[in-house]
Symmetry: C2
Amino acid sequence: MKISELSAASGVTIASIKYYLREGLLAPGVATAANQADYGGAHVDRLRLIRSLIDVGGLPIARVRAVLAAVDDESTTLHDAFGSVMHSLGTTQPHTDDAEITEAMTEVGDWISGRGWVIKPNAPAVPALAALLVTLRRFDFPISIEMLSGMADIADENAADEVAYARAMSDRTTAVETMVIGTLVFERIQAEIRRLALEAASARLDTPTKSRRSSTRHRSHAGA
Amino acid sequence: MKISELSAASGVTIASIKYYLREGLLAPGVATAANQADYGGAHVDRLRLIRSLIDVGGLPIARVRAVLAAVDDESTTLHDAFGSVMHSLGTTQPHTDDAEITEAMTEVGDWISGRGWVIKPNAPAVPALAALLVTLRRFDFPISIEMLSGMADIADENAADEVAYARAMSDRTTAVETMVIGTLVFERIQAEIRRLALEAASARLDTPTKSRRSSTRHRSHAGA
DNA sequence: TGTTAATGGATAGTGATACTGTCCGCTCGT
DNA sequence: ACGAGCGGACAGTATCACTATCCATTAACA
């Protein structure tokens, strides 16, 4: 497969493919001459993964590189690879020198062990979650971490399924890739569903109290 | 309050405050002289909102401006303001001219009406969700939209609480602001919890099957 | 009352990011 | 034989979110 064919097969422009090659996101093709290289299906797959990390996950190139490195590191166990990937995916990290946040981190840590979850101590989700709680409180949301247990319960169910599905894959790389894109896509799906539920809830609370009897509006499926 | 005091009170540099003023994110202070203006608590609050939209939501300035415009538009009902805000928050929108995506959009639309959700036809979440389904399928995830009903059920519960909480606020602007930051923060919280659940699930499946009896590892809370 | 520091406003510059364009000498396909 | 396409190098571009500098003015303190 020549670079023009790779471009056609992946939907990524030649210029961008060259850029990804330069940035080390994509392995060079097999050189067949000084100005000729051969690309294969693995390159198409890799490009799809790269584009998904960028488009769905919104990851900058540097993070994509880190994720791919974790995916490709064959020397780690599947579980350690998942951990690396979670770390590489990253999120906006807070300044942990803030007293309010370190306090919230303890709260989060206690809740995690209370649930029986085994989490690496350097998991980025812990300070991230703590910072989010602090943000809510700054806006006077009366939030305690126990209120998140409902979310955590369903997350547990989904996570068990997803991990089992990934572990059933034939080869390690595919398993890790499956986890990566599953993580990113389901996070977005969860968010979009949440927005739909909010809009529906808002509509439910809006329509009956307003008692608009305009003939242009009729509520066909409005009830539960 | 002078600009230096506003800066101190909000934690935003003077240069950035001037930038937000220029970009129309922040209302000018009350001019008391050619080179003097007076800022108040509303400016501090607004800066906190702006920074949260940027830091938590990762919104670009243009989107922040659109969200703030929706928040400030007093001529809309609360429900319509929520709709505007959801639209302004936005997400990465797909090319809807793709046949695969329009097909998935029908699927999403049917599922939504099947749930009895009343959603505006131009809600950005619909194409976004459709694109995410297509992405999953491109990676061979055997996904049907009904699998998302569990997520949707808990989202319904949370959304009802959140909307009721926001509607109970004294003034309209605060209510809309509450919805905005609640939406963004809870989306991140949901995502972080999901990552923790994945790591915990991975640990559960890893530790027992590997049967590593190394003395350096012991499982204190590993069970459910 | 003088002087110094800060202010609002305007405009230019910066650094990071993710490409995109151009050039080159080479070589594959016809 | 020869033109389109190739890999590789490198410079250029667009956008974004600030940041720095300048200016005339004015507030605040000595």
